[in-house]
Amino acid sequence: MEDKTRKAVERFVAQAAGASSVVVTEARQLSGGAVQENWLVDLEIGGGPHAGPLACVLRSDSPTAGVAISHGRAQEFALLKTVFEAGVTVPEPLWLCDDRELIGRPFFLMRRIGGTAAGHVLAKDPRYGGDRVELAERLGRELARIHSVRPPQPALGFLPWYEEAPALHLVARHRAFLDAHHTAYPALEWGLRWLERHAPARGLVSLCHRDFRTGNYMVDEAGLTGILDWEFAGWSDPLEDIGWFCAKCWRFGNVAAEAGGIGAREDFYRGYEGESGRTIDREAVRYWEAMAHMNWAIIAVQQAERHCSGEEESLLLALTGHIVPELEWEILNMTEND
């Protein structure tokens, strides 16, 4: 971290935390996401309610953030605060700096949690995440708590509101994207038509994480330590998140473990149903698993385009485009009979 940035962060935290002194004792960049940067930051705070050492993560927008539907840091901070107060296990959001003057882009600090999030590791190595029945149940309970956040939420006023059925809203959004894109995707059009013909009516609408999957939560050897990556959150049918979590494309090769490649589907459902008091319609989830493949395919096309357009040269983004054919194939498998 540049000296200028470090000094700016120290001044900002001193004021936000009501401290007499703040020193950044350690700062290094963690593997960044596609739309934001993460820094490990250790603070030594003198005076005020947070006096003492504090292990944090500093999140800022990526210099080239591009995915149009993801939220900026200020909005992500508001989301974290809302779900933290709803009892969801997330890194505690501490302070937001909206002022671009300080380090050139908005950032916030959150308490650091331990563990690993790597999906491939979790799916292959049972040492992570503790007991897998417990982990699947726990993730179900966490998701139910996310879905306990219902509109209206003034702090989340930036989340787009709509009146149509969530499934049809998604179909329309994806079609609008494909119409504006330089290349047509007939297999995705097939899938979108199926999703339109089978779309469930608008029912309960809640806050949805919209990227709740293995790879986006952290675990240590005892179990869950936090749910991450809130930048796609929005209002939708709660089954959208359940379908996304269970979809075959998010099992990291451990296909038999239908709950995110880490556990049994019924364990996950039991946790969710116990916490929410609502029964999951098993058949309806199948629809949302097809939608999950569609959502991921569209995101993959968008990620690849960031590379192809020259906006951000990245091998990861480039290879993401080559996931599209297998997602199309699975969509055909799921939709060809009706």
Binding site: R175, L178, H182, T183, A184, Y185, P186, A187, L188, E189, W190, L192, R193, R197, L315, L316, A318, L319, H322, I323, V324, P325, E326, E328, W329, L332, E336, D338
Partner: protein
Amino acid sequence: MREQPRGDALLACARQVLREQVLPTLPADRKHALLMAMNAMAIAERQLRAGDAPEAGELDALRGLLDDDGLTLATGNRRLGRLLRDGAADPGAPRRAALLAHLREVGRQRLAESNPKVLAAEAG
């Protein structure tokens, strides 16, 4: 005439060097980047090997399916997408089977280059 060996063979050979000589020497947290690079090389290798045949076949099929010899891949797929959106392959529609068979055939070609493991898993 291009010098031998050609691109696909060069990529295959280079991948083998990376897999056997470089990958084992990397610390665990650096292997992922190399595996990504090797995957990219494998895709490029399969595309070189397949040449223009898959796209030429796709264009022929599109022109037949949509009965228009003036189509390009871009305009043909755009029109096919519109037909599907408008219900031309809904259950009971007369062209459903032919349109689905086309999507499957093109899908197989795309998978054969981007991720042939999916096809191998279905066959096995």
